[in-house]
Structure formats: C-alpha cells, structure tokens
C-alpha cells in the first residue's frame, strides 16, 4: 500500500462516507414525499368541498314543484277572436282559466282567499297554457290535466325553507296559502319533477321559470365567433412565426408580446372591446359578435403558444426529408409539418375555447350582462352567456336562485369537462408517433 495521495479517497473510506450520508438523504426524500402528499391531499380536499357544495345545492336546482290542474279550455275565454292567432290568445284570459281550476280544487273563496290562491301559481303558467294550445289547437274546448310550476315562495315552503312556526307576517307565505298547499298535497296534485324551465327557459326575474337556454345559446354563438376568428389566425401566426419569419429584433419583440398577452387580465380585453368596437366602430352592445371578437383576442395567445409548441415538436428529420426531395418551404409546412402538429394545435384551441367559455369579466365590459329575455337568434342579437348568467343569478335574493345558480354551474362544468375530454381524446388518438 502506498501513501494515500491528496485528493484520492480509498474505496473503503468512500463507501463508509456514502453510507453515513445515506440516512440524511433518505430522510430528505421521505420528507419531500410527505410534503407532496399533503399538497395533493389539500388540493383534493378543496376540490371535494367545492364539488359537494355545488352538487348539494345544484341537484335540487334541476327539480322544482309543480301542481297538476284540470283546466277547462273554454273557446270563448282563451280565444276571443276565434282564429287561434297569437294575438287572440294573448287577448284571451288564460290566467282566468288556470285560476278558476285552482279555485275549484282549493276551494278558495272571497277576494282575499282567491288572491292568496292565485299567488301560488307561477306567472309562467299562462304562457305555458298558450304554448300548449298553439302546439295543439285541438285542446280548445276540452278539459285537460296540465302541470304548472308553483310560485317560488310556495316552492321554498315545500322545500322546507319557510317554517310555518314563524309568525305569519314574517314569512313570504300566508297561513291561508299554507292551508291551500296542504290541501293540494292531500289531493296528490303537487309533484316534485325535473325542471324543464331550467333548461328551456330564458332569463327571468321569477326564479321558478328562469332558465339557461338564452345564455347557453349566447355562449354557443359567442364561442362560434371566437373559434372562427381565433383558430385560423392563431395557427397562421404560429406557422409564420415558427417557419417563415426571419429571426430578428422585430419578431423577437412580437414573440415577447404574444407571451405577455397570454398573461394580460381578461378584463383588459373587455375594455379594449368597449373602447374599439363599441366606442370607435359604434357597434351595438351586448351582442355575441363583439363578445366573440373580444374572446378571440383573449384566446389567441393561448392558441399561438400551443400551436408553436406543436410545430416545434415535429422532428426536424421530417422537414429534412421533405426538403431533400425538393419540396418548397410551403409544401413542407402544409404537407408534413401541419398534419403532424395539428393534434397539438387542436388541443390548444379546445383548451383556449374552454377558457373562453368560462370567461365573464370582458363580457361584462361590453354589456353582455344585460337582462335579456329573448333568446338570441344570430350573432348580432343582444344576448348573454352562461358564466354571466350564473353571475347574475348569484346576485338575486330569492332562495330558489341559489339552486338555479348551482345547477347552471353544473351545466357549465359539464361542458368544460367534456371540452377538455375531447382535447385529451384528440391528443391521444391523433397524435402520431415517429
């Protein structure tokens, strides 16, 4: 054995030092694993709390109380002009027909009794009767059993939110009304059913007939505008920047700005839309066209960034191969790079669209928060979108809106999750391996 030299550790010494440090290293790893688990556990706990809260409130929002009444559809009463025109039906006394059916079963008498009974039925009931007649004119002259929504106060009482132990003047429902409800229940006329108003109704101040149809269609129109603008523009920008643009100061500046744009708060895009499209171009407020344009501006950076990443992920050997047989730059990009990058681009686009679907703030800026009962028929009709509808409902005081809000959130979440699922599906299915 020679003298140990400086800087050279004998294997024996080395392994004993390694062993000595092992315990500390393992402890560090164990600690790190524990931190990780705590973090994941916390995140999951929050998520579960969120979902439990939304679903416990939201599931009842999909249902509401209805009362079944035998309505006598008297030709003269419902259709005074006798031509079944919409005008004639609106002139007719649909309300009276429903009310008299109600008075009959409840046995309501006198002015105050009838008034109390009449308040139990939703204001949407007459409209439902008219619609049923328009759909099926043969009903005129017959006596039919129809289901009408109960007013939200009666609904809240049946759900148990209003206690009859509270003094009468402190509750929104009178003793007489409670008596009528009990009577209807005894006659088995009250049912707790799937709320068709939620899905097919549009915005209303009356919670029992408020629905998301208008907002949903508004969302779809807005997204359609957004997709049509953002996808081709984003993909074209990405291809140009990645494949054609010279690498110089200007393109660098553009790149930095696109990346920064992705981090700009969405409300700023709303201000842009307000200032440019509405103030300068004088376009109308609240229309899905402007909403879509604003959201397209907002999602463009996301689409550009993910498309560029997808283009960069195409192996250079494919480009070499195409150039090698004499393909021009454009042919190389269109025939080889783009098809290979497309799944990544689509994934990015769908994620961008999901982001746009959930966006509220910029749409508030351009007036899509307006209370609009009509369902938009085109991108230039005023409308609102789902998240804004949720935002508005969350502001209303009626108990029933709490359920409707959560139910609308569930609908929105289902859409977001299915969009993300499509993105994952595309990524795993279309992605080619080479």
């Amino acid at each position: 054995m020679s003298e140990p030299q400086k800087g050279i550790i004998t294997p024996h010494v080395a392994i004993s030092r390694v062993n000595a440090s092992l315990a500390a290293r393992r402890a560090r790893e164990r600690r790190f694993r524990i931190y990780g688990r705590i973090a994941i556990g916390l995140a999951l706990a929050f998520l579960v709390t969120l979902f439990v809260s939304i679903f416990t409130k939201g599931i009842p929002g999909f249902f509401q109380y209805y009362v079944t009444l035998e309505v006598v559809i008297d030709q003269e009463k419902i259709d005074p002009d006798g031509d079944l025109s919409v005008q004639s039906l609106y002139d007719g006394d649909a309300r009276g027909i429903i009310r008299s059916a109600l008075y009959k079963v409840t046995g309501a008498e006198g002015r105050s009794g009838r008034k109390a009974a009449g308040k139990l039925i939703s204001k949407g009931a007459e409209q439902r009767l008219r619609k049923a007649i328009i759909k099926n004119p043969a009903l005129v002259g017959q006596t039919v059993a129809m289901k009408f929504a109960l007013d939200d106060d009666a609904d809240s009482f049946l759900r148990g939110y209003i206690s009859s132990a509270v003094p009468e003047k402190d509750r929104r429902i009178s003793d007489k009304q409670i008596e009528f409800i009990n009577k209807l229940q005894k006659l088995n006329l009250i049912s707790y059913d799937f709320s068709d108003y939620l899905i097919f109704g549009s915005a209303s101040r009356d919670p029992e007939i408020a629905g998301i149809k208008g907002a949903f269609i508004g969302s779809m129109l807005t997204l359609a505008v957004c997709l049509v603008l953002a996808f081709p523009m984003g993909v074209a920008t990405a291809i140009y920047l990645e494949e054609f643009a010279p690498k110089n100061r200007i393109t660098e500046l553009i790149e930095v700005n696109i990346n920064n744009l992705a981090a700009v708060p969405s409300v700023v895009f709303g201000i842009l839309g307000l200032a440019v499209f509405i103030s300068i171009f004088g376009m109308p407020r609240s229309i899905p066209l402007i909403g879509g344009v604003v959201l397209a501006l907002m999602t463009l950076p996301t689409i550009i960034i993910s498309s560029r990443a997808a283009i960069r992920a195409v192996p250079p050997s494919i480009r070499d191969a195409a150039f090698g047989v004499g393909a021009s730059k454009l042919q190389t990009v269109m025939h080889h790079v783009l098809p290979l990058a497309m799944p990544g681009m689509l994934t990015g686009t769908i994620i961008g669209m999901a982001q746009a679907l959930g966006e509220t703030a910029p749409l508030l800026m351009i007036g899509m928060v307006a209370f609009i009962v009509d369902i938009p028929g085109s991108v230039t009709d005023p409308g609102t979108v789902l998240p804004v509808q949720i935002f508005m409902w969350a502001d209303f005081a009626e108990r029933m809106f709490i359920h409707k809000t959560s139910a609308a959130i569930i609908v929105l979440l289902v859409f977001l999750i299915s969009m993300n699922a499509i993105a994952i599906f595309i990524r795993s299915r279309l992605e080619r391996r080479w």
């Binding site: 050997s317 494919i318 191969a321 090698g324 047989v325 004499g326 021009s328 025939h335 080889h336 080479w434």
Partner: protein
C-alpha cells in the same frame, strides 16, 4: 505491460496548405472551388476544392466534426435551413453555380437528392412516401404512371419484394434497414442526377448495412453518389474515390484503393490506421 498510445496530434499545424492528391477529374458532374463555410463566426469548411465525377461513388471520411457532413449538405443547399450558415466559393452542378441568387433550390434538390443519417420516412404509407417527390414535381401524368414510378423506385432500392403487398402500411412500421431503403427509393423516385448520402448506415445493424452497401454498388451505374461515412471498410467497399477531411480542410483525395493502401499525408495515414477518429 500497458499499451500506451502515442499522444494524438490533431493540431492545425499538420494540415497541408494544399490538398494532397488529384482533386480534379476528367468528367466532373459537380465541381467545388475554394469553398468556405461558416457557422456564424466559426469556420467549418476551409478552402475546399474538389470534383465529383459522373457515375462514380466518392466517399467523404474523417474524424467527427471535420466538416464532411457540412460539405455534403452544401451540395444541395440543405444548409440554407440553418440560419447562421454562410457559404463562400463556387459550387457548380454541370456548369451552373448552385449558389447563384437566381437559382431555385426546388429543382436543384430534385436533381441532387439526399439520404439522411437516421432513416426518416414520412409518417405516411409506403406508397405515399415514394410517390411524394414525383407528385410535388408533377412527374407522373396519371395514376398508372405514378404507380409504375413507385414500383420501379422500390425495385431499384431492393425493397419491392418485401413491401409489394403492403404499400398502404405506414412507412414507419418498417424495420430500420427497410426504412433506409425506403428513403433511398424516395430519393431516386424523382430521378435525381446526384445522390448525397449522410452516413446512411450509421443507425443500422451489419446485415442491413450490407444490403445498403450492395444497393449503393448497384446504383452507381446510374447515379453520381457522394457518401459520408465513418466506416472505412464501407468507404473501401463502395467508393471509387475517397476524400479525407480534417478540421474543415480537405487533406487528401484519391482513388479509394490508393488512399487505403498508400496514403500520402501523415494525417490520412494516422486516421486510416486507427490512430484517431
């Protein structure tokens, strides 16, 4: 007893000021004169003058980083895709300077085809891989003609027998050696005059390598071939002439048998005897 190798001398002082051997030929297909290539400020090729003879195979050999691949990629302007790359000097195909600003690289690359180090078939069917070049250049008037081009190219690449009944399968489903022959078929489908091969066998096993070498041997009847290789045996087997590159210079060029049996420059000698590389 330890085997001690002599310290390897790779410094520039040993480089010859002029290439040793005969750089000119009687029937050149391509000629390069005083070619310098820079990547940014770094010089990758220094004053290379070399003729590439018609219907012959010339091997470019040399240690890693000697510039042989860079030189090869200059011959069909594949270096254009590298932003910082700058080429000086004159490279002619027949009597046309290929770096002339008026030259279109598309027809140039149709005339000077390329096969790469790693087999890189398109992730498309075998048929489409071969048909791609003829399609974009409009070589075939109709479907039957295209079919016959595809078949002839695959036959010439020695792949037809193996893929004739599965032309619609993906090119990437083939084995490495088959993929490389598919790439050769793709290159010859556009009827180039010159084929550049950048270490075409470096990713293949010995059996696949032997097949490619046989193929190169057959193809030299019809095409002018420039091949970069790390295998001196391969250079010896397939090429008529061999050029030895070192640190961006063309050190020596000559008939293959002469280079391998009687190299004139000491760097060439050191390299082929395995002293470095």
């Amino acid at each position: 007893m330890d085997i001690v190798r002599a310290p390897i001398e790779m410094e520039a002082s040993k480089l010859p000021s002029l290439t040793v051997g005969e750089v000119y030929v009687d029937t050149p297909r391509m000629t390069t004169r005083n070619v310098n290539v820079f990547y940014g400020d770094k010089m990758a090729i220094d004053n290379v003058t070399l003729d590439i003879a018609e219907k012959q195979v010339i091997s470019l050999i040399g240690p890693s980083g000697c510039g042989k691949s860079t030189f090869l990629r200059c011959l069909n302007r594949m270096n254009d895709t590298i932003e910082s790359c700058r080429v000086e000097g004159q490279i002619k195909l027949d009597d046309q300077n290929i770096y002339d600003p008026h030259i279109d690289v598309v027809p140039l690359r149709a005339r000077v085809g390329m096969v790469f180090q790693k087999p890189n078939p398109f992730p498309k069917s075998i048929y489409d891989n071969v048909a791609y070049g003829p399609r974009i250049h409009g070589l075939a008037g109709h479907k039957d003609e295209l079919d016959s081009i595809v078949e002839a190219s695959l036959r010439r690449a020695g792949l037809w027998g193996e893929v004739a009944n599965r032309l619609d399968q993906s090119g990437t489903s083939l084995s490495g050696g088959q993929q490389q022959r598919l790439c050769i078929a793709r290159a010859i489908a556009v009827s180039p005059e010159v084929i550049l091969m950048d270490e075409p066998c470096s990713a293949l096993d010995p059996i696949a390598t032997a097949r490619i070498e046989e193929l190169i041997f057959e193809l030299r009847e019809e095409f002018t071939i420039v091949i970069v290789t790390h295998s001196m045996q391969q250079a010896a087997r397939v090429s008529n002439r061999t050029a030895y590159f070192h640190l961006g210079r063309l050190v020596e060029v000559g008939g293959t048998s002469e280079i391998f049996t009687n190299p004139h420059h000491e760097l060439t000698n050191s390299y082929i005897t395995g002293r470095f590389g």
